[in-house]
């Protein structure tokens, strides 16, 4: 397998019908695209199976649309675009959206205490919710960091990477924050009370 083939050589080989060169070119592409799809999907349930399906779909799309690649010198980048788009289309399917909206193991049912909801000031409610709500220590840091310390996710990821002593991507910070805010959003009484503050301005 020639993983060092240039884009142009790979592109040319893909056109060589029923040849060993074509088979090798598509095998090279398969390895390249599988890794990208895996990076995108491995965290999902059935990640391995979806990765294989998406890579296969992307490879067939590439084969059918080879003529639309305008610049063979950027063929690899063109193929990357196709696999990314294929995975993103897969992630827009309703089953993935439904799963994402369900509470995960770390965020069970939670409701703000009635005394919290009866507080008159927004600061008091938010303090209680952030301190005593279903938020982990990291979650508190990423919510407070974004909203009250004006730290962007690159900065927050750097801090979390140092604390965890392993790389944490900025986009993972985004997911953490969304999951924790979603846990708060599942309390209808809290959301109704917060809406009153929005309406009051």
């Amino acid at each position: 397998m020639h993983d060092t083939m240039t884009s142009t050589a790979l592109y040319t080989a893909c056109f060589e019908q029923d040849s060993l060169a074509q088979h090798e070119a598509y095998t090279t592409l398969w390895h390249m695209l599988y890794r990208v799809a895996y990076a995108m999907l491995h965290a999902y349930p059935d990640g391995d199976a979806i990765t294989t399906d998406c890579t296969q779909k992307a490879l067939i799309k590439i084969h059918r649309n080879l003529g639309q690649c305008q610049n063979p010198a950027t063929f690899r980048e063109w193929c990357m675009q196709i696999v990314r788009r294929t995975v993103l289309d897969e992630l827009r399917r309703p089953e993935h959206r439904r799963r994402a909206s369900m509470p995960d193991a770390e965020h069970g049912p939670w409701a703000a205490p009635i005394e919290t909801l009866q507080l008159d000031d927004l600061r008091g409610i938010l303090t209680e919710v952030i301190d005593a709500g279903p938020l982990s220590a990291r979650s508190r840091r990423v919510v407070v960091g974004r909203y009250f310390s004006e730290q962007n996710d690159d900065l927050l990821a750097q801090t979390e990477s140092e604390l965890a002593q392993k790389p944490v991507l900025a986009s993972h910070i985004q997911v953490t924050r969304a999951k924790n805010l979603a846990a708060l959003r599942r309390d209808p009484a809290l959301i109704a009370r917060l809406r009153e503050f929005v309406e009051e301005g």
């Binding site: 029923d18 074509q22 088979h23 598509y26 095998t27 398969w30 390895h31 599988y34 890794r35 990208v36 895996y38 990076a39 995108m40 999907l41 296969q56 490879l59 067939i60 084969h63 080879l66 003529g67 639309q68 980048e77 990357m80 675009q81 696999v83 990314r84 995975v87 993103l88 992630l91 827009r92 994402a100 909206s101 927004l122 600061r123 938010l126 303090t127 952030i130 301190d131 919510v143 974004r146 909203y147 009250f148 004006e150 962007n152 996710d153 690159d154 991507l169 900025a170 986009s171 993972h172 985004q174 997911v175 924050r177 969304a178 805010l181 959003r185 959301i191 917060l194 809406r195 503050f197």
Partner: protein, 232 residues
């Protein structure tokens, strides 16, 4: 955490995120915007996204995961990852007629391109309706019709007349959804062949005629049409 320093604006911002509606429309808008970065082959940091998208990503786990998946696609991939063996059996399958016609069409900037090849011409020839033989007439053109779903195009008709002295006549007719005769004039049409490029414009009927196309060029001909801006 010093809550005394929390500004009213920051608190309102957080509350707005918590009470913001998450519906199919906002998710579609967010995913469409993020998918644009796929076309550009580049990663994007959260802080450079439009504020409405930033807020939606905080409010919607599914879109946050979508964003993270896109971001991970730009990170270094593990070269030691065990990759299963591909199933390339589909390479041996002949493409369907629909696939062959679709692959002949491409949008290049604002122009649509139709790339002819011998297999496509043979396919269209097999689809030609039987013509009545009137007065021994034998020079019926090969008719090709394309209906790409690209606005404002309705149909592109191509007629290739049999060669005389190795020269063919090619007639192109462009039909649009949003206008008809006599407003179909001045659409740029180009024929790109191995022997050179010819350019013309449609007349009021949407027709452009190229009367001296080398017969040998037809099987590798590329037709390019400058798409007019749709009329709203």
């Amino acid at each position: 955490m010093n809550q005394a320093n929390w500004s009213q604006n920051a608190m309102q911002h957080l509350v707005q995120t918590l009470v913001a509606p998450v519906d199919q429309h906002t998710c579609d808008t967010c995913c469409d915007q993020l998918a644009i970065y796929t076309e550009r082959n580049q990663s994007i940091a959260q802080q450079y996204l439009p504020p409405s998208i930033q807020q939606h990503l905080d409010a919607c786990v599914s879109c946050a995961e979508y964003f993270a998946a896109l971001d991970r696609s730009f990170t270094a991939v593990d070269t030691n990852l065990p990759v299963p063996t591909p199933d390339l059996g589909w390479l041996q399958q002949a493409p369907s007629w629909y696939e062959r016609v679709s692959s002949a069409l491409a949008l290049v900037g604002k122009n649509i391109q139709i790339s002819l090849n011998q297999s496509l011409l043979d396919g269209f020839a097999a689809l030609q309706p039987a013509q009545p033989a009137l007065r021994g007439e034998t020079n019926q053109p090969l008719q090709l019709t394309f209906t790409p779903s690209i606005q404002p195009l309705r149909e592109i008709n191509l007629a290739i007349y049999p060669a005389e002295a190795n020269v063919c006549r090619v007639r192109v007719q462009v039909q649009l959804h949003d206008r008809e005769w006599p407003d179909l004039a001045q659409i740029g049409v180009h024929l790109i062949a191995a022997s050179g490029r010819q350019s013309s414009e449609t007349d009021v009927w949407g027709e452009a005629v190229f009367s001296d196309v080398q017969a040998a060029d037809v099987a590798g001909l590329t037709l390019e049409i400058e798409l007019p801006t749709p009329i709203n």
